[in-house]
């Protein structure tokens, strides 16, 4: 699991995840994800490079979403693969972890120009 953190224009922080969000992957992103989510501001997580997502990974994403919400920000997942999307949708998590199919959609969800 690789994690890369960058600024997302003026909108917040972008986190790019590449690899497997399994037990080992979740452990690796734990601290950096919590650090970013604990700051005030929005967070976009680019999921396009995540090839595997299990409940432990979802748990970390939900914890991050909770921390971001406490700082009055929004968290959006960008472009997860079809199979990762199926896991998220099956979990019924779309309200807490909204999915954007494109950068435009992610920006719209963050700026509130489209309801999440």
């Amino acid at each position: 699991m690789k994690i890369d953190i960058s600024e997302y224009g003026a909108l917040g922080t972008k986190i790019t995840l590449v690899g497997r969000l399994d037990i080992a992957g979740a452990e690796k992103i734990d601290l950096p994800l919590a650090t970013v989510a604990g700051k005030r501001g929005n967070v976009v997580i680019d999921m396009s490079g995540v090839e595997f997502l299990a409940s432990i990974g979802i748990r970390h994403l939900v914890m991050a979403a909770k921390a971001v919400a406490r700082g009055a920000g929004r968290l959006v997942l960008l472009a997860p693969s079809p199979v990762v999307t199926e896991v998220l949708v099956t979990s019924g998590l779309d309200a807490i972890l909204p999915i954007a199919r494109s950068e435009d959609e992610a920006r719209a969800k963050l700026t509130g120009s489209e309801s999440a």
């Binding site: 399994d22 037990i23 080992a24 299990a54 409940s55 432990i56 099956t90 019924g92 807490i96």
Partner: protein, 145 residues
Amino acid sequence: MADATFEAKVVADAAAIAGFTLRTTDFLKEAGVDARALHHVVLVLEEILTNLATHGGASAEPAKIRITVEPERIAGEIVDAGAPFDPRGAPRPDVKAGVNDRLVGGLGLFLVNRLTSELDYARQGGRNRLVFSVARSAAHVHGNG
């Protein structure tokens, strides 16, 4: 062509589970399994083994796993000596709760129930025996998923 089969014994700890799910992924890829079935079979293995590591109690005996790639489905069997546990019908997590009060504890077993096409359990000879299957996608049987 004979069905491809993969067998392994896995100690229920994080490092062993991660290594095992990687080997299983490689096996299913080589067998030409579509991306969806591959993902969900590995998800079931990870969730059940993680649950065993967390709640199964101390057991020196590794879990025995067998995965068979059949034409229409992937069949799996997990036998472990952990505490008796039937994962069928695990309570649905409160998926409609808000960001601040969401309960995600039961999510793994909920996904196992939802993403398998068959799920059977028996307690036999002091061991849990879980049998499951995930349907292969007809459109992707030949591979690229």
